[in-house]
């Protein structure tokens, strides 16, 4: 009898472990940037090519850095919500226009509206690499002292915003 117990216990432990594995999304990689200082960068502005924008543009306040591109269907999906969020004005949204074409991106903002305080134009993806971007849309929450406190991969929705971002922002507000 006892010779069955050991394999049975091993099996009983293994099954839940494997089941948890099945529910996880292998495309969502944890960012090594979390709880670390956000990358410092400066790039040409998307809308004003002669101006430089970057981490200094949103320094010393809680801010969102949203990685977007016109070739990215998920970005179009979340765009409406970003506009709502910008209208509420609680957190400034900085855009990182990643690996895109300037005229397409400008047309996109004109047609759909511009939720961003500014968008940096990362044509060759160099700044995207520093942020560990591997797919768009990606959204980073940056604290007032420049720490990455959350990263969301995939389109942002109000539900995700209320659940994952709002509590973190409230926490930050309390400690400031």
């Amino acid at each position: 009898m006892t010779r069955f117990i050991v394999p049975l216990v091993a099996f009983a432990i293994l099954i839940p472990v494997l089941m948890i594995g099945l529910t996880r999304n292998p495309n969502e990689l944890p960012s090594p940037l979390l709880q670390k200082p956000a990358p410092v960068f400066e790039l040409p502005s998307l809308t004003e090519p002669d101006e430089r924008v970057g981490s200094a543009t949103y320094a010393n306040q809680i801010a969102l850095v949203n990685v977007w591109a016109t070739w990215c269907p998920g970005c179009r999906q979340e765009h409406g919500f970003l506009l709502e969020l910008a209208a509420e004005g609680s957190v400034p949204i900085f855009g990182l226009n990643w690996r895109d074409n300037r005229s397409d991106a400008l047309r996109w903002l004109q047609a759909l509206g511009d939720p961003y305080i500014a968008s940096a134009f990362d044509e060759d993806g160099r700044v995207g690499i520093d942020w560990g971007v591997y797919g768009a849309p990606e959204t980073f929450l940056i604290s007032a002292d420049g720490i990455v406190i959350h990263k969301h991969i995939a389109p942002l929705t109000r539900e995700i915003w209320e659940r994952d971002f709002v509590p973190l922002i409230a926490e930050q507000g309390g400690s400031n």
């Binding site: 495309n27 990689l29 520093d130 797919g135």
Partner: protein, 140 residues
């Protein structure tokens, strides 16, 4: 005619080969070997079961460019690995470094082998303890 069709088909089948900038990146064969060695061990995060050597996703191209620049700038393989891990995590390396969280990956095969050896040893020992004239065909 037959030859012509054969040639056309071969060319069509070979088309994907032209999709990736697999050409020479360095004149120095030593640097080229290092470059190829590195890019064949870095995961393309966009297409997770490919290396950046095999992928033509633009992210893979961007990472190949960065790695090329870093080799040109004289950075070591360890520095390049550190650059990638700091941005994309240990997952970016097909051959994870044996530190901290990934140590279990390296130790697991040895642990399984050891576990198997212990089980085997115990079974053999219990069999050896059986009387020699045991008639049971599979007595453990």
């Amino acid at each position: 005619m037959k030859t012509f069709i054969c040639v056309c088909l071969t060319l069509i089948v070979a088309l994907p080969a032209a999709a990736i900038d697999s050409g020479q990146a360095f004149d120095d064969p030593e640097l080229q070997a290092r470059y190829e060695n590195i890019i064949s061990e870095v995961r393309c995060l966009k297409c997770q079961n490919q290396t950046i050597k095999d992928s033509n996703a633009f992210l893979a191209g961007d990472l190949r460019r960065e790695i090329r620049n870093m080799i040109e700038a004289g950075q070591s393989d360890a520095e390049i690995a550190e650059f990638l891990v700091a941005r994309y995590g240990e997952f970016a390396l097909y051959r994870p470094r044996a530190t901290g969280k990934t140590l279990i990956l390296w130790l697991a095969p040895a642990l399984f082998l050891l576990g198997g050896a212990v089980v085997l040893w115990r079974i053999l020992r219990s069999r050896m303890a059986l009387p020699i004239d045991d008639e049971s065909p599979d007595g453990i």
